[in-house]
């Protein structure tokens, strides 16, 4: 066997290995989806969405869980969106290259890597105890808002960076101020990409469990929250609660809850991908 054909075969071999390793990830994803469907689809019914949790698995539902998730998501978005996009705009459009900017940048990069359970401890110490918000929706929303803030800032910056400089120069040349340039030229041009980042950040917040458990969100709630200061539970916590029970009947409930949660996450991700695709096609610089 000569060297050339050996090299060629090695090359071919690696290419198969590459396809296999990519396929491995995708196959696991597929198996996971099929597994939860087999386990949980029988429990999915209208009453599953309209019932409170119960001691009897076949009567239990996710009403308080999904209502809590909607509340928490709304609060998180309301707080994190303006602050995160604002910070992104400042760092990309206003900040000069100096040590303070550098410090803020390193700081955000680090925050993006802080484990989510530590945000839970922050929320527990700061919002639940220090500000005395107790285990309320507001405390939960604030905690998750801080958690996804770095994600929104980073994606906003990336979106703004993709807008060519010539657009800003043209705006300045016609007498616009900096804010007018940002408001009427840069943000509209980057809008699609910013929204993509926002949706991805929110999809992350939907599935977060650990920080909300850490601030003391309840695992069993048989009433609906009426306001910001009420206790709450969310869908992932309800799933966690069902998974960690010894009775087998609750596993089916957990699987059914997972179908709902996974569906929500996948829809949000698909929307983000489509949105990105749409804007990439529409805008050609």
């Amino acid at each position: 066997m000569n060297r050339k054909s050996r090299n060629k075969r090695l090359d071919k071999g690696f290419s198969i290995l590459g396809i296999a390793s990519i396929a491995f990830g995708l196959i696991v994803l597929l198996v996971l989806i099929i597994d939860v469907f087999l386990d949980g689809s029988a429990r999915l019914s209208w009453s599953f969405f309209t019932s409170f949790p119960s001691r009897k698995p076949e009567l239990a539902g996710i009403l308080s869980a999904w209502v809590g998730t909607v509340w928490i998501m709304a609060i998180t978005a309301l707080i994190a969106l303006p602050l995160g996009i604002g910070a992104g705009i400042y760092l990309e459009e206003y900040a000069g290259k100096n040590r303070l900017t550098d410090f803020i940048e390193i700081n955000i990069a680090n925050l993006a890597g802080v484990p989510s359970v530590i945000y839970g401890l922050l929320g527990l110490g700061l919002f639940v105890r220090y500000f005395n918000l107790d285990r309320s929706i507001l405390a939960g929303g604030l905690t998750l808002a801080l958690l996804i803030l770095p994600v929104i800032i980073l994606s906003t910056r990336e979106a703004l960076r993709a807008v060519p400089f010539s657009i800003r120069e043209a705006s300045y040349a016609s007498g616009a101020t900096r804010w007018q340039t940002v408001r009427y030229q840069v943000i509209p041009a980057a809008f699609g990409s910013i929204m993509t980042g926002v949706i991805l950040a929110m999809s992350r917040a939907v599935g977060e469990t650990a920080p909300l458990i850490t601030i003391g969100a309840l695992t069993y709630i048989a009433f609906l929250p009426q306001g910001l200061s009420d206790p709450f539970t969310v869908l992932p916590i309800q799933i966690f609660n069902w998974v960690s029970r010894p009775q087998k009947g609750f596993f089916a409930n957990a699987a059914a809850g997972i179908i709902v949660l996974l569906g929500l996450t996948l829809i949000m991700n698909a929307a983000a991908i489509l949105l990105r695709h749409h804007y990439q096609k529409k805008i050609r610089w």
Binding site: L32, L83, I106, V114, I118
Partner: protein, 299 residues
Amino acid sequence: MLLKRRVLLKIKETLIERLLFFCSLLSVFTTLGIILVLSFETFEFFKEVPVLKFLTDTQWTPLFINKHFGILPLLSGTFLTTLIAMLVAMPVGLVGAVYLSEYSSLKVRNIVKPLLEILAAVPTVVYGYFALLFLTPLLKKIIPSLSGFNALSSGMVMGIMIIPLIVSLSEDAMRAVPMGLREGAYAVGSNRLQVSFRIVLPAALSGIIAAFILAVSRAIGETMIVAIAAGQQPKLTLNPLVPVETITAYIVQISLGDTPHGTLEYRTIFACGMSLFILTFILNMLSFKLKRRFQEVYE
């Protein structure tokens, strides 16, 4: 009149800039908040438990009558699950990244990458379910002595979750390698495999190592998978077949109970959080510095 408008405009501009600046400062306050909250409770904790005991005692039994506060068992649990996760994620992720960067067509890459990202978007509580109720029973058929809760299956599932992170960051690093280097190697008769492993990988090494370090940090901080599937028994062991407890799983365990605020048990989770924060902080900074270095070289 015109002058007045200009002054007003100027004030508005300044106000907006201040407001946006405040938004970006908030991230600094968040870090400050984390450090202050963790330090305050950790300080109170160390008033009662000597630091040396915390770092060297080989038992962690804060909820028993005979209390021990040695973090080593929790650290070993964390280390074990992280190691298993990296053993899965590193080879698969790296080979996948080389394939996507050097072998596949642009079309394949554009379809496969977002699909792989879905793996990272799956909520971790879902992975916990998968590890406990799918992978563990499956592995039990091969290894009968496997416990219902174990480090092996939670570590493996964690590794699968981390694959997209490694693929995405390593591929970025490899794609940043200038085309000229590849062309030079092809010109002297190298094939794709040789170009990938002798030219591109070494050139992108700092970026790839940065990706690995970030992956380790992610695995150390991962909570729900291990809280569900690895068990709640802090044990100083490297046996992947028995239940262990990680730092993160312990924090969840205590948070679920009714530990009263202000007690020593309550403070243990902050001491654990502090250890976790320091560990991940060092790794994140290391990864950040390495990533910056490869960006500086090629951009």
